[in-house]
Structure formats: structure tokens, C-alpha cells
């Protein structure tokens, strides 16, 4: 194996020599000898550095994004599989440390869609005008809350009351009512709001897409096997399946500047396997939900449905009430990091070529009744040992606690409908770049 790699490197090394001759300027132009560099095949740290350099050059010089992604994830080794929806205790702290994310409670003030610029529409001004004297957290004058509430209630009532359904399958309660309700709600709201948000008119709605991301963070010593004793980067892979996602052709605007520091990233001294996280070796995938050729290559909003085995009642039964919010936060942080980082890789950035503009996406995590909203800004992809040393940037995640959308559905009526949650959802859907 080493011999093969050596031979291949030697061949590539010969090609590379001709490139470095032009690049290296320290040699005087009339020198008869090639530049003196460390060996590329010796068992030495300098040789390893040269090989790493060479690999970085290859990825930088890749002809297309698909080629770059292929080279990036070419080498398969055992990696930790990170599940965004997990029952592990305090998983959100661990995930924040893996992804260098700062968590800021509450939604950013800039997440409110720029409604003030739009002229109020005549039909919707009347019911909205009654609300406009309220503080700025309320809807802008031209959003008809009554209409939106009726859309949401119609979707909810159809799925939970009016449609004749059999009993839910065992442990599949989420597929019976909350799943279809979420799909209906988002599709009808997106269609209703696409007049106000032209980005939604050009968007692509995916049902149960796949989102994958692979990255390195930190270092460890290989514990057993034929590679025992070597220092390896810690590899992670997220394979996520949101319930619904909206992808758009234009990027969402940045919330805060690229180098802002809004908090601290938790540092955890234990190995990731203590979380518990387990290692597996398989294909290193980077995928946002569709291939690179798709024009809708930026993310807008993801919708996640909490599965049955992680529902609230189970946590309450085993006296882990505080872990309910941890579950929502971990899901938001991990899923959004994977999505935004994959979007950044689709644009050609990677950990050696860090992002030059922040990537922003949103997510809503729900179990059918409780909704939690998350905003994520990816400021850096450089999480490997070499690149993280001089990197002061941190990724930022804003998130709320979970709040119920309604109390109960009884006899064709929705009791205790919460308008604020619907308003936050509508604001998320109306988010768009400033120029639109």
C-alpha cells in the first residue's frame, strides 16, 4: 500500500516539480539545480507535511465542485456519526464544541422581514391596523393574521379531526397526524406568502430530503489496529433527514458581520465517544438535498419533526425535563451546521479555503404541537487542527425555547391557538435578501 502511494506520489511529484519551479521565487533564475525540498515519500514529518500540501493543492486545483467534493471525501476512515436528534444528555454542548458554534438564546432582531419598506396593501390593512400600535415585535401592518390563523387551523383540523383515519401504527404517531399537518401547513403558507416574498416563488420544496456533511475537528491518537500510535484528525459525519426543506436560488442576508464574537464555544475535555458517539466507516457524503447542478443551491428553512421515541412524555416520565430543550437545541445546531457547511462546500469553500461571506439558514424543530425556531450563521469552515489555530471566527446559532402552537383540538375546534408562534413561522418564511 505504501509502495503504491509512493509510486503514485512520485509520478505526481514529478508533475508538481514543474509547477513549483515557476512558483518558487527564492531561487535565482539562473540556478542549474532544482529546488531543494524535503522528500515526499520518506517516513518523516517533513514528508508528511509535503504530502498534505500536495493534497491541498489538488483540492484547490480541482476542475469542478463535484471533483472537489470527491477528493475531499476520498479517504475513508472510521468516523463519528453525529445524529442531530439524540437522547444523549447535554448533547447540545457537545455539538457546539464539535462545530465551534456559539448559542445565543432568542431570535436575532434582524430576522424580522423588512416589512416597513413595502407599502401596505388595501385589503389586508384593516385587520392589521388594529395591531400596528403594538410594540415592534408584532406583525407589520400588511399581514392578515386572521387569514393565516385560519390556514393553520384548517390544516390542523383536517389532519387531526376531519379526515377519517385508522388508528396510528405502533410507535408511528408522528406519521399519523403531526407529519402531514406540518407538510400541509408549510406548503399552504409558502403558497400564500409567495406574493410577498419573491424568493419563495423561485424556491424548491423538498419532502424528506437527505442532508449530509463530513468534517474534521480536533486530533486524537489511534488506539488500536495497524495504525496504532499515529495522530489522526477526529472525523465526523452528519446524515440528517429533515421532514421538509425549502431551498432558494439566492442567499439569505447575513445577520451579523463575519467576525463577530457573541459568546464562547464550550470546550469539552473528553473524547467524543463519551457522549456516546460511535464510529463507523462508510462513504463521506456532502449533500444539501440536491446535486451541485441545481440552481437552488442555498438553503432557506428546514423543518424537523421529532420522532416518537424522543417525545416529551418519555422525557417527563424519566425525570429529564431539562433535556427536552437540549434535544431541540442539539437538533437545530447540528442540522443547520451540516446544511450551511454543505452549502458552503457547494460554492467551493472548504477548511483550507475558508468562507468569504457568511452562510445563513433557518430551521423549525417541532413535534407537532411545540415549535422551536433556530437561525444559524456559518462564519467559518476551518475546524481542523492546523486551520483552527489562527481562526478567531465562530459560527453562531440563535434559538428559542419550544412553545406550543395550540393547546388541544376538540370537536372541530382548535383551543388555545398561539398567534406568536405562527407569527415567528411566517417571519421565517418571509425572510429574504435585502435587494428583493
Amino acid at each position: 500500500m505504501a509502495a503504491f502511494r509512493g509510486r503514485r506520489l512520485l509520478w505526481h511529484g514529478r508533475c508538481w516539480f514543474s509547477q513549483t519551479e515557476s512558483a518558487v521565487s527564492s531561487q535565482p533564475p539562473d540556478s542549474l539545480y532544482p529546488p531543494i525540498v524535503a522528500s515526499a515519500t520518506a517516513k518523516s514529518k517533513a514528508a508528511k507535511r509535503r504530502r498534505l500540501e500536495h493534497f491541498h493543492q489538488r483540492v484547490h486545483a480541482a476542475a469542478s465542485i463535484e471533483e472537489k467534493l470527491r477528493l475531499y471525501g476520498q479517504l475513508q476512515r472510521p468516523k463519528y456519526v453525529v445524529y442531530p436528534q439524540t437522547f444523549a444528555l447535554n448533547a447540545d454542548r457537545w455539538y457546539r464544541s464539535f462545530t465551534k458554534t456559539v448559542f445565543v438564546p432568542g431570535l436575532p432582531p434582524g430576522a424580522v422581514a423588512p416589512e416597513a419598506a413595502k407599502a401596505p396593501e388595501p385589503g389586508a390593512a384593516a385587520p392589521g391596523a388594529g395591531k400596528s400600535p403594538e410594540p415592534s415585535a408584532e406583525a407589520a401592518p400588511n399581514l392578515d393574521m386572521g387569514e393565516l390563523r385560519s390556514l393553520a387551523c384548517d390544516a390542523l383540523l383536517q389532519e387531526s379531526f376531519y379526515q377519517n383515519k385508522k388508528r396510528p401504527f405502533l410507535y408511528r404517531d408522528q406519521d399519523h397526524t403531526p407529519g402531514p399537518f406540518l407538510t400541509q401547513l408549510v406548503s399552504t403558507l409558502a403558497a400564500f406568502l409567495c406574493g410577498r416574498n419573491p424568493l419563495l416563488a423561485a424556491s424548491s420544496l423538498d419532502l424528506k430530503p437527505e442532508v449530509n456533511y463530513y468534517w474534521h475537528h480536533g486530533e486524537e491518537v489511534v488506539v488500536h489496529g495497524h495504525r496504532k500510535g499515529r495522530v489522526d484528525p477526529v472525523r465526523f459525519q452528519i446524515d440528517d433527514n429533515p421532514h421538509l426543506q425549502i431551498r432558494v436560488p439566492k442567499q439569505l442576508p447575513e445577520i451579523v458581520p463575519l467576525d463577530s464574537d457573541l459568546g464562547d464555544v464550550p470546550v469539552i475535555d473528553h473524547k467524543p465517544s463519551k457522549l456516546p458517539l460511535f464510529k463507523r466507516q462508510y462513504e463521506n457524503k456532502v449533500f444539501i438535498g440536491s446535486k451541485v447542478a441545481d440552481p437552488c443551491c442555498y438553503g432557506h428553512t428546514q423543518f424537523h419533526l421529532i420522532p416518537d421515541k424522543l417525545k416529551r412524555e418519555r422525557f417527563l416520565k424519566i425525570n429529564l425535563e431539562d433535556q427536552i430543550e437540549v434535544l431541540y437545541r442539539a437538533n437545530g445546531v447540528a442540522s443547520l451546521f451540516a446544511w450551511t457547511a454543505a452549502q458552503a462546500m457547494y460554492q467551493g469553500f472548504w477548511n483550507e479555503a475558508d468562507v468569504t461571506r457568511p452562510f445563513v439558514s433557518q430551521a423549525v424543530v417541532t413535534d407537532g404541537r411545540y415549535f422551536a425556531f433556530f437561525c444559524y450563521q456559518l462564519n467559518t469552515l476551518a475546524l481542523t487542527v492546523e486551520t483552527i489555530q489562527n481562526n478567531a471566527r465562530k459560527n453562531i446559532c440563535w434559538g428559542t425555547d419550544s412553545q406550543p402552537l395550540y393547546d388541544v383540538v376538540e370537536d372541530g375546534n382548535v383551543k388555545g391557538f398561539n398567534d406568536e408562534v405562527l407569527l415567528k413561522l411566517v417571519r421565517f418564511l418571509l425572510n429574504r435578501p435585502k435587494e428583493l
Binding site: 383536517q158 377519517n164 403558497a191 416563488a201 430530503p209 449530509n212 446535486k291 441545481d294
Partner: protein, 458 residues
């Protein structure tokens, strides 16, 4: 491009030609049909072949040259039904008493063991005749797995419907109306097709089970975005996994349509009737096509335990109470598991009729009568590439007799959205002969799709 005539079409052509020549038509099943002179060559996969002599299917006709001896009825009467051992009474002495096998003695047959008490986990359940819903008269049920032999003709007879080729004038008017600007969506449709067929998966090419629903969702998303221009389009709701139940009687045959079928789009207001009063009255003179000797209930499931139920699938008080369009997705990967276009059209007709009938019974009661306000239900079926469009109008619930006013259906069959979607470029001898992409895109198909979506609100 004319599709190759399938075996059904060949048989029908053969039977029709035989009928025109005056020869009494033999039943199409299991009987030799010689191909007519019109079909000397049968193109299969682009290669022209001569029609081979048809393989005999089923028992040969009883002619003096094919069989000898008396006809099978007589033979069956003469042949002894009891096994030989019983006739010779060889089994009277068994080794049951000896408690072990003894060569030469017969094998004993013991009575089945009786538990002595009723164990619900191990009881076989009541027999059909003892079930509470058992009825002497059988009922023929059409469910989502029923593939009718005679296709649309059979469905027409069962639902007392007259067929009109092509879409109805109001829908064609929406297609042709330049005010709707249906051309703007061409880019969006091409993107939707590419997304479904190429980009939506980490594999090289997605399978039909994956791309068919994705294409449907993308097209519906494009249609829903039209609610910017027509705000009343927001008063629509999609319902998946809903169950329909409709019962009717047709010339002393009890028929039912039951169960899961497709995705239903409901709307708040009904679709206005598509045909004029004159057309409805003109259907009185139309004669329904029969296909003797095939019974019209062929391929339907006959049951004796049933409930005569009429239910739309939704409770009373549902705001979106009018069924608008039914969508059928044939997304099985393997071709034999998918419905053929003719069978799909028949299924679409049956379920559109079932929905219309259930709605009419809710609105106007169970008495059979001619409806003053006909109920219109649309239906679209697809397998990811080929689209079938259908508009059904229920004019009467008086279906027992075959005379009188009939229902109307307009069918636009086999509309291709695109000819071919090449995932990987085709390379012959290291030269790219066909680059990847969508070939043969036809924008008219999506225009009709959108027109059917907009029908009723525009």
C-alpha cells in the same frame, strides 16, 4: 411517434376486423385470433418484425381434428371422483391401534384436536357465512389494485358514462387563454423535471419510486404558487391516505368503490358543470358498449361480507367539502407492478365516479335521480413521464337501468411531459453521442395540468 400496438389493442383490432368481415366474434380470451392484413409488421423497440403466428392460449377449440372422444362434461361425469384407495377399501386397517408405523397397514387420519375452550389468539375466526355482515347477494368491489380487463370501456359500462375524446372546452379555454401566461412556467417545469430525474439523490440516477412523487410535488408546488394571481386558490387542501366508499347498483349487480386510492385535492367551492344541458340530454340516446361474452364485473373482487356504505372520507362540517382533483402516481419500480395506461385510465374513471357519487349522495340524498347541478371531479394520473387527464361529470344517480341520461367523461390520454431524461451521457466508442439532459420536452402537458388545477376558480 405512434406507440407499438400492445396485445390488447391487437386483439381488439383482430376482433373488430373479424366482426366487420361478418364472422361471429369469438371471445378474446384464449382463442386464436389471426392478425388482420392491416398489421403485417409489428414494430417492437424500433425493429420491424413480421407478425408471428399467434400462440394458442388456453384450451384448443374442440374440432374433429384437435380432440378425440366425448366432450369434457361427459368425461367428467363418467370419471370416478373417489381415489382408488378408497374405492378398493385399502385404508380400513390402520396402524393407529399399534401406536407405531407398520409397513403394509394404512396411514391413520386422526380427527383435528379440539382445545376445549375458545382461545382468541389461536381461533380461526368465524367462517364467512357466520360473520355479521354476511349477505347472500354478492357485491363487486373496485379497489386500488383492480386492473380491469376491458379498461375504460368496462369502467364506462359500470358507471353509465359516455366518453368524449379530448379535454372539455372550458379547460381548453383556460389553456388557450393568453391572460394566464402559462408560458412563463416553462423554465420552472424544466427545473422541476431535472430536479426530480437528476438532482434529488446522492446516487447517479433516482428510481421511479423516488422521482415520480418528487416530480408530482414539484409540479403541485409550481401550481400552488399561482395563488399570487388568483387568491381563491388558497382555498384548496391536499388530502393523502384518505378512504372513499360509494355503492350503487347497475342492472341487478351491486357495485362498490372502496379504500385508499390516490391524493385528493379538495376545494371550498364546487367546479361548475362543464357540459351544457343539450349535451346532457343528448347522452340519452347513447348506447353503452357491452363486450359480451365478457361479464362487465370481470376483475372486480366479489365479496359476500360487505357493508353498503357511502362516505366521502371526511366528517361533516369539513370546510373543503368538494372533491376537485384526484392524483394517481404509478411509481412502482418494476413495470409489471405498474398499471398500464389503459388500466390506469379505468381506475381514474372509477375513483372519480366514486368520489362524485359519494358527494352527490351527501348533497342530494340516496334516491336515484337526475341531478340538476351535476357534480364534476377531475383526475390526473402519471407514471413520472406519461400523463393522463380526465374530467368526469356526474349527471345522474339513477344507474340501475342502462337507458336514460348518462354521465360524461372527457379523457386526454398519454400526454408525454418529456421524451427521455438522460442521466448519464451516452458514450459510444469514446465519443459522447447523447449528452445528459431532458429530451423532447412538451410544454403543453404542463399547461393542461395547470389548466385542470385552475379550473373552477378561473
Amino acid at each position: 411517434m405512434v406507440a407499438a400496438p400492445g396485445p390488447m389493442a391487437l386483439r381488439r383490432v383482430g376482433a373488430a376486423a373479424a366482426r366487420s368481415r361478418g364472422i361471429p366474434t369469438t371471445p378474446t380470451r384464449g382463442i386464436l385470433t389471426t392478425p388482420t392484413r392491416g398489421i403485417l409488421t409489428t414494430p417492437t423497440r424500433g425493429i420491424l418484425t413480421r407478425a408471428a403466428p399467434p400462440r394458442p392460449r388456453g384450451p384448443l377449440p374442440r374440432t374433429p381434428w384437435t380432440t378425440r372422444g366425448p366432450p369434457p362434461e361427459e368425461l367428467a361425469r363418467v370419471v370416478e371422483r373417489r381415489p382408488v384407495r378408497e374405492q378398493v377399501e385399502l385404508d380400513t386397517i390402520t396402524y393407529a391401534g399399534r401406536q407405531h408405523y407398520v409397513p403394509g397397514l394404512a396411514r391413520p387420519r386422526f380427527p383435528p384436536w379440539d382445545r376445549g375452550w375458545h382461545d382468541p389468539w389461536h381461533s380461526p375466526g368465524p367462517r364467512c357465512e357466520e360473520m355479521p355482515l354476511y349477505k347472500e347477494r354478492g357485491c363487486y368491489i373496485c379497489h386500488q389494485g383492480v386492473r380491469m380487463l376491458e379498461g375504460v370501456r368496462q369502467a364506462q359500462w359500470l358507471t353509465k358514462t359516455k366518453l368524449v375524446e379530448g379535454l372539455p372546452p372550458p379547460v381548453l379555454g383556460i389553456v388557450a387563454n393568453p391572460a394566464h401566461r402559462l408560458e412563463e412556467h416553462e423554465e420552472g417545469v424544466k427545473r422541476a423535471i431535472s430536479h426530480a430525474r437528476f438532482w434529488d439523490t446522492t446516487e447517479v440516477a433516482p428510481r421511479r419510486e423516488h422521482y415520480c412523487p418528487v416530480l408530482f410535488e414539484d409540479l403541485i408546488h409550481l401550481c400552488r404558487l399561482m395563488s399570487v394571481k388568483y387568491p381563491s386558490l388558497t382555498r384548496r387542501m391536499l388530502a393523502r391516505n384518505y378512504k372513499i366508499a360509494a355503492t350503487w347498483e347497475r342492472e341487478s349487480i351491486l357495485l362498490q368503490v372502496r379504500g385508499l386510492n390516490g391524493i385528493l385535492m379538495n376545494s371550498v367551492s364546487p367546479i361548475p358543470p362543464v357540459a351544457s344541458k343539450e349535451e346532457i340530454l343528448a347522452t340519452e340516446g347513447h348506447v353503452l358498449e357491452t363486450f359480451y361474452p365478457i361479464s362487465p364485473t370481470i376483475d372486480l373482487q366479489e365479496v359476500n361480507v360487505y357493508q353498503e356504505l357511502n362516505h366521502t372520507g371526511f366528517r361533516d362540517g369539513y370546510p373543503f367539502s368538494h372533491p376537485h382533483t384526484l392524483f394517481f402516481l404509478e411509481s412502482a419500480n418494476i413495470r409489471p407492478k405498474r398499471f398500464r395506461p389503459e388500466q390506469l385510465r379505468a381506475k381514474m374513471l372509477m375513483f372519480a365516479f366514486g368520489n362524485a357519487l359519494a358527494k352527490a349522495k351527501v348533497l342530494y340524498g340516496n334516491d336515484p335521480k337526475v341531478l340538476e347541478q351535476p357534480v364534476v371531479v377531475q383526475s390526473i394520473g402519471t407514471d413520472g413521464q406519461l400523463f393522463q387527464f380526465m374530467v368526469f361529470q356526474l349527471n345522474t344517480t339513477d344507474l340501475v337501468s342502462s337507458d336514460g341520461i348518462k354521465n360524461l367523461v372527457w379523457i386526454d390520454a398519454d400526454q408525454n411531459l418529456y421524451e427521455k431524461a438522460q442521466c448519464i451521457p451516452e458514450v459510444k466508442k469514446r465519443v459522447v453521442t447523447k449528452p445528459a439532459g431532458i429530451y423532447g420536452f412538451q410544454p403543453d402537458t404542463f399547461k393542461k395540468f395547470l389548466a385542470l388545477y385552475l379550473h373552477g376558480t378561473v
